[in-house]
Amino acid sequence: IGEIQRFIRDDGTVKVSRSLKETANKVRKAKDEISKTLGRMPTVKEIADKLEISPEEVIFAQEASRAPASIHETVFE
């Protein structure tokens, strides 16, 4: 699967939906880590700073992880 993913990426045809889902996974991990450290829910900005993206991008990625998977996603997931 790693090979296939690398191939897709190198091909320059990686779909934004896939990239957003990867970011959404990082957002989820960052959220868990910060929650553990601080003992409370992180702010959007705390997550954005950790991932070095904008708060708006955090929101965008989070939404993508909620959208139904396309056929493309199902094949490679």
């Binding site: 829910m41 702010t43 959007v44 900005k45 929101i59 965008f60 939404e63 959208a67």
Partner: protein, 141 residues
């Protein structure tokens, strides 16, 4: 800010992202963002399904502003309007039981926000104003 889009379900997700990403400037918690997304979903879905009955020619308008204290969110349509607003606000009240709607949309909006106002006129449309306290020092519009 002001946002307008066609009354199609595909645009619901876009509306959530647009409003939530605008609000993200106020340094909200994830929980606050999730509440905002939920109320946007409920109100936008109502405009699309009830207001316009999924006629994609309909336009949904959203206004978002922040005055340093309160976020004000307005979701407006020029759809068919609500016959009896007082009943519509009751938990479990729905005019589309066949759609497996829960009748809890307005109840959810009222509970997640600090303040809700609903104005509606048959044949003219519906306007929902939602307010929530946000404790940071900033202004956006």
């Amino acid at each position: 800010m002001k946002l307008q889009f066609a009354a199609k379900s595909e645009n619901e997700s876009f509306a959530r992202v647009a409003v939530a990403s605008f609000i993200s400037q106020l340094d909200p918690t994830l929980e606050e963002i999730n509440d905002i997304k939920t109320v946007v979903s409920e109100a936008v879905t109502n405009s699309i399904i009830h207001g316009y009955e999924e006629d994609e020619k309909g336009i949904v308008t959203i206004y978002v502003s922040y005055d340093g204290e309160m976020v004000e969110l307005t979701i407006e349509d020029n759809g068919k309007g609500i016959e009896d607003v007082e009943s519509a606000l009751q938990p479990l009240y729905t005019t589309k039981p066949e759609l497996e709607r829960s009748g809890m949309g307005f109840t959810i909006m009222e509970n997640l926000m600090d303040d809700m106002e609903v104005e509606s006129k048959i044949g003219e449309g519906t306007k929902v104003v939602l307010r929530k306290r946000f404790a940071i020092n900033n202004t956006v519009n």
